[in-house]
Symmetry: C2
């Protein structure tokens, strides 16, 4: 999915966030911001958003001389999600349809996304959790249920720290399959990496690996050969978040995408309003904009 | 009020909006956007936001060779507001305290601001109007009431098109004073200019003038001598919107500011969360953050 003009202010905001997270002097912040803005002025607008964001955040990390500007945010979101887990696990277990409920909460967790906005507050997360059980999920949940029931191997592409705890509760529903949980190969925005998978205890219930790439999405050509092999061979692939959707929606493989629609660019491509809970595979704009299944 | 890093993504979004409103070819949009981004990369971050936005929108209008990229949006917002006027006027007249109610609706109208976001939907305006009568207004409404009761001349600085219809309903409450309604001197974003004042029928109830400036705020040094004379001489000044607040809050004159807090930069400076209805004079951060009067 090609980026559009609306992606640019979002990149500028990400840059401002990263600069502020890493540098306290206002003068130095201004100097760095000018530098990044000049770079953004030359950005190639024909790329996918994750490809452009990968380059932007590499530059930011180099300029800031910080390996992981978002580490403190990620730790905070992990701690918050960790505290919420026991009650959400109980709610899923008590649901008439635990799989659907786990999908809803996994999508709810996708609001913890510092790529789409510059802060995620405790109040916002609690409010979302209250409404999660009632949220309509657009897409084909029955196809997901069937595919998960038949799959021997599931490749689950995580998105963000914090959110990865919610992913764990969904993966716990896939007891009949061998699940491989995949995180990014290096820090980028607040995307989950290996320390976040460990924080969520993913090793207890899944194989855990990284994809070898520092893009906030899944750019196959940039991923490790081992990841690409697993991507080709898995019976089923589940991909969380907008970044994975933006980078994989036009690929050859059938992927189940789970995400909150969070920005006008995604709305334009999918037809879904901001806030929509999306669970869809073989994503085609015409289809999803036309015939939506409310589950 | 000095701009901060968070203003930059907002300027980039305004640029993307203006480009898209004026040019349909994607290639041409990309070319123009690169040009503007390079310019924004050199922006002086020590200015007030309206001063920087004035320069940005001058450049945009020159690049796009369009005198008023937002004219269609402004006409649409005027038409929407015009349809809403009769029922709001009735609600104000039926209120126990019509002045306070008119202030609430005038602040509600301040959501019609394409500087702060790229679209204002019909649904959003209707939802705001439903909640308007119950909104707490932070600031000193009694001081405003007293000043308006004593004033022989009131200078009312309008903000946006559409919103200016709501301003009219407030000005109708000031029957004891001679009111001068001031709009921008030339098009900038969706700020009201003389055609918008005429659309709202302002000439029937007030003297109408423009301030001679194309800044989306009130930069006194950039305004006409006639405006500056009226600014010095008026018994009372009411200024609508964030742009007027950002440019006048640190000045010498006592100004009553009416606006919706709409962005993190304003929240940082005033202590008011986004969405807050603000009606305050002699605005000082310490005071307002400390002792707020809920009217």
């Amino acid at each position: 999915m090609k980026m559009c003009l609306d992606c640019v202010p979002c990149f500028v905001r990400q840059a401002a966030d990263a600069v502020r997270l890493s540098v306290s002097s206002e003068e130095e912040q201004d100097r760095l911001m000018h530098n990044v803005l000049q770079w953004i002025g030359d950005i190639d607008l024909s790329q996918t958003p994750p490809a452009a964001a990968q380059m932007l955040h590499r530059r930011l990390r180099a300029l800031l001389a910080v390996e992981d500007p978002y580490r403190i945010s990620k730790d905070r979101h992990n701690a918050l999600a960790s505290r919420l887990m026991p009650s959400i696990r109980r709610r899923i277990a008590a649901a008439v349809d635990p799989l659907t409920m786990a999908v809803r909460y996994a999508i709810t967790g996708n609001i913890i996304d510092l790529g789409a906005k510059n802060n995620v507050g405790l109040g916002e997360v609690y409010a979302e959790l209250q409404s999660a059980p009632m949220q309509p999920v657009f897409g084909d949940l029955e196809a997901l249920r069937k595919a998960a029931g038949l799959a021997r191997t599931i490749l689950y592409l995580a998105d963000n720290a914090g959110e990865i705890f919610f992913d764990r509760l969904l993966i716990e529903q896939f007891s009949g399959a061998r699940v491989t949980l995949v995180v990014r190969g290096a820090p980028v925005i607040n995307d989950a990496t290996l320390p976040d998978a460990r924080a969520a205890g993913m090793e207890d219930i899944a194989d855990v690996m990284d994809n070898g790439s520092d893009a906030p999405g899944t750019l196959l050509s940039d991923c490790s050969p081992e990841f690409r092999r697993r991507f080709d061979e898995a019976d089923m692939i589940i991909a969380k978040g907008q970044g994975n959707f933006e980078s994989l929606s036009e690929g050859q493989r059938d992927v189940f995408f789970l995400f909150r629609a969070k920005c006008p660019v995604i709305s334009l491509h999918t037809g879904f309003a901001a806030g929509t809970y999306v669970a869809a595979n073989r994503f085609e704009r015409q289809k999803t904009a036309g015939e939506r299944n409310d589950s």
